[in-house]
Symmetry: C2
Subunit: 455 residues, 2 copies
Amino acid sequence: MPHPLEPFFTPRGIAVVGVSEKPEKLGGIIWENLARAGYRGVLHAVNPRYPSFRGAPCYPSLREVPDPVDLAVLAVPAPSVPGVLQDQGARGIRHAVIISGGFAEAGPEGAALQRAAEAVAREHGIRVVGPNCLGIYAPGNGIDTLFLPRERLERPGPGGLAILSQSGAFLSTLLDLLAQEGMGVSKAVNYGNRIDVGESPLLEYLAEDPETRVVAIYMESVDDGRRFVAAAARCTRVKPVLVVKVGKTEAAGRAARSHTAALAGRHAIYRAAFRKAGVVEVDSFEALLDGAKAFLLQHPPRGKRILIITNGGGMGVAAVDRVAQVGLEVPDLPEALAVRWRSRFPPFYTIGNPLDLTGNSTDEDFATAIEEGLADPAYDAALVIALTPVLGLSDRLAERISQAARAAGKPIVCCSVGGRRTPHLVRRLHAEGIPVFPSPERAAEALAALVKRKP
Amino acid sequence: MPHPLEPFFTPRGIAVVGVSEKPEKLGGIIWENLARAGYRGVLHAVNPRYPSFRGAPCYPSLREVPDPVDLAVLAVPAPSVPGVLQDQGARGIRHAVIISGGFAEAGPEGAALQRAAEAVAREHGIRVVGPNCLGIYAPGNGIDTLFLPRERLERPGPGGLAILSQSGAFLSTLLDLLAQEGMGVSKAVNYGNRIDVGESPLLEYLAEDPETRVVAIYMESVDDGRRFVAAAARCTRVKPVLVVKVGKTEAAGRAARSHTAALAGRHAIYRAAFRKAGVVEVDSFEALLDGAKAFLLQHPPRGKRILIITNGGGMGVAAVDRVAQVGLEVPDLPEALAVRWRSRFPPFYTIGNPLDLTGNSTDEDFATAIEEGLADPAYDAALVIALTPVLGLSDRLAERISQAARAAGKPIVCCSVGGRRTPHLVRRLHAEGIPVFPSPERAAEALAALVKRKP
């Protein structure tokens, strides 16, 4: 039997309710995005005002939409939503994404509408994502209910990262950055006011989803604490789960309440639950992006002893500071390795941990240091800082770093930062499966996130 | 009488010792960079092997270089440095930038060479920047001793930021990013092993420098604790000074020692000294860049009550969390303002602090919120989050934000993050004098840095 949430991600047909020819109306944008996402099922248009829509028949209501149709996407004003759900129930469509805002987040009247919608959905056994949300993005299946045009928001391609987000802005920004960095997404869901489907059932689904290798969650509040811990624990047994929990402070708790009408709760309780379930908690938007990249591209190290390799001494010192601050270790070079490197490298390289290859560094220096350093049982992983302005680095650096890391069989993370030549190196390293971060501190924190998960 | 360090920044003539036709040799790169930096004084080449160098006469030693010459830039092997300093002393040139590495950072032999160089410099009263450094970048004066070619490392134009850095990699990376963000630099100095001129005398100089409006320091260790506190206190009376101190942990302390042969010392002592001198301490490479941008473009607010304006609810909640965590306040909207905005804005905007203008936000919404919100005595500054994928924002947003901020006369910082359309908005906002940060957390921290300095 398929998972009860499966039709959200692999519907045989989708009805978009509220399609419109006006370019600023969400229904038309969503229709366009679904068409452009390569959805292979049947798209149905619903709007009583049009006989047809962009070459397809347009139905006055969901009651008239022919088979197949497993999912309705609602982009109609909030007051119309309960009626549309009635039609949907009568038609036997059991899954809805309610994009529309104007519910509990908009005051008492909206809250009453939300209760009405909830009652209709429950009565008909309709599973709901939303309301007040962007809905679902699943590029491998051609699903894209995001109402932001592709010209405005870049979409990542298919890949191993699943994202669950109470915030639409958080999700869309993350997607935009992932696209830019060449990372891929399996399923991304923004459930906004979350009257039904939230992180817990979605985690149960993602635990079994073969496309998903890593899960990242933006959370203001949890849908169901007990169920979440059980679902997250099940998920973390097979794949890493990262979370950023906002609404930690009292002021932010109030803000979260007005944003998605949810109670943020005491942070200590959340923290304990995350720990119990094996969820890796991070502290910011950037840390969630960084952690997701690290887990997508690298496996967790067997221990916390880090070798730092740099071609900028000061960046190396900054890395040591943050590595030590996040609870990892920077053991001295074993004497045999130090002796070998002293004879192998020029005398002005600083042989130690960090190993400073200086502005004279070459591609081969980095490869040697990574391969020989990580071959030593003294180290579990490497943090490699490669600054591009030095003359000895070529276009082959990314490939050499990645070959050396593969030969050593231990995880590495990179830091590269700068204007002109860095983006090129970052793209190449990502293509080689090496995650790159724009400061030594963020590279150290990504490594700490990896270490938090047992290999 | 000019300041004793003045000839480093406004020399009437510069001699580059160790010019070379080999493209990988530092002397030639430095010559080229000085020529391209628009230096208006006389450039002299020194190398006994060449009769002339790129059309200019080339002298066998500093003893033969004719007037005017106030500064020697040494790019010769370390063992030759004491002899070159002898020549320089005999010729009466009282300022040297020693680029060459291979001194105390390279082991006991190098340490002996460094002591020899120090002795010669002291004997002849030569002021020294270096050795083992990039030296000086002062674009307004056409000074550029950085040995990284412009094709590899972008240079920022003239502007208000001075940078003092023990690390060359830290400085060069910062310059590269500042260039990319359109920020300008007055003087940047990397002094490496620092046998003479360090942060204290440079701060004394920068305190009086009319071009410098903000000072940013990367520090592994201090040259002279007592003198530093006095110089920094004098400087912070007239302009903000930011510092990132690395080598905080014991492991990093050891790393700093091998990097620039300096003792990093106990961090609590540094922290107390910074506080005493009014120096704003930040915790990472990115925070130094962010803080510098904030101070260059905005003045400190009169208090710590922050209005948060967003078009992405979740980003707003994340901002509230970090604003509260860094010790600022997020006071509720005064009732009169709430009433006004409820009637002015659509019902689905969330009227509160944060004010959530949602995906329906327009340029005018942002302008109204900033101008009317900051006009209220309840707020000292605003944190504005503008995500670009929404349809209602146009190319005029940056201008409208900046007009509104000017009308209110209170500082604002922005957050914008995303792939396709964001870099354009960031450049426009920077051009309008509004600093932009790539996450709500970093915007909050930049605001906290601003607040730390009394207006």
